[in-house]
């Protein structure tokens, strides 16, 4: 008699927490987009076309399908942290190494990049 409601409660709790996690992820994505577009922060549009951004530059490739290309988020983090490690000639600024962005900010941007 009590089993059913308990199960319901568990399900409900699960659903709620999933919802909260979802909302948290969504807000990280939104933060990441803001940071990526902000001229004083990532300013990624200076060099990359990105869905939803105006007046992109053409120095870097369009940022899209990144989840396919870099399934491991650590790869994206590394590119933003310091792309000169992969390509010493790159024009891309070392956002982490030179403290243009914090680790938390980079993580939010990676969340956003994974939606592209």
């Amino acid at each position: 008699m009590t089993a059913f409601p308990r199960k319901l409660a568990v399900l409900l709790a699960l659903a709620l927490s999933a919802g909260a996690a979802g909302a948290r992820a969504q807000s990280a994505v939104a933060d990441g987009q803001k940071l990526a577009f902000d001229r004083g922060k990532g300013n990624c549009l200076t060099c990359h076309a990105i869905k939803g951004g105006d007046l992109p530059g053409t120095i870097g490739p369009e940022l899209k399908d990144l989840k396919t290309k870099y399934p491991d988020r650590n790869e994206l983090t590394a590119i933003i942290y310091d792309e000169t490690k992969r390509n010493p000639q790159t024009m891309m600024p070392p956002f982490g190494r030179n403290r243009i962005l914090t680790e938390q900010e980079i993580s939010a941007i990676v969340d956003f990049l994974q939606t592209l």
Partner: protein, 287 residues
Amino acid sequence: MKTRTSLLLGSLSAALVAFALTSPRVVAADKVDPVADAKAFQNFFFQKFPDVKHEDFVNGPYSMNADLKRQWQEKEEFPPYEFALDAGKEMFSTPFKNGKTYADCFPNGGIGIRQNYPYFDEKDGKVVTLELALNRCREANGEPPYSYVKDEMASLTAYMAFTSRGKPMDIKIPDDPRALEAFENGKRYFYTRRGQLNFSCASCHVQSPGERIRAEILAPALGILNAMPIYRSEWSGMGTTSRRFVTCNSQTRAVPLEPQSDEYRDVEYYLSYVANGLPISGPGARP
């Protein structure tokens, strides 16, 4: 074609890295060869942009983009630098309080000589730019110097450039170790990465000319000073070479130097020398 250019870029980049990694001591020991440098520099751009006429490189972003070039050619009917040109001509012919004029300070009365600046002054042991020579002329005649970045200085250099239009850049490096050192120092400054964003001048003007950085099309480093001074809508006015250097440094979050500091003078010497043979096109107008 594509692979060829990227190979070229690759080898130039490799050369640049090698250059950046060499310690100053080794650089000093290496033979500095400006003639070979200029040749390699020009060939790099000629091969990277085979469709651009050689004399067109002096038109900055317009040489890289046909649409932009069309808009510019229309604008040239009523060039926005005209007011500066008129003012400069007037200033140039107006005597100082002591009765002398600018013409007294320059070879050939200052007409048609822009292509010879900057030059290396063997007495001073330093590079002298046109802007610097103009202020020295004023001070020698008891007049206060002008700001290096705009207004009067831009008007004067606009007029002097105009009287030299079409003349090939003709910078000399005298047989003096200090002149070679100035050239080398300018080259080093040009290729060294700096500031929080880690750019060198070459990142933008050698690696990426023709690309858009946001909405702006990057000018090629070849002939990049031949059009100076320039009118820029963004400035709503004229700017000198000094102004452009300071702007490029500060826009990339690097600490700009004082206008006419030794390093800026050396960069100007380097960039002008490697543009030898390309025509003076100043004053210029930019979007």
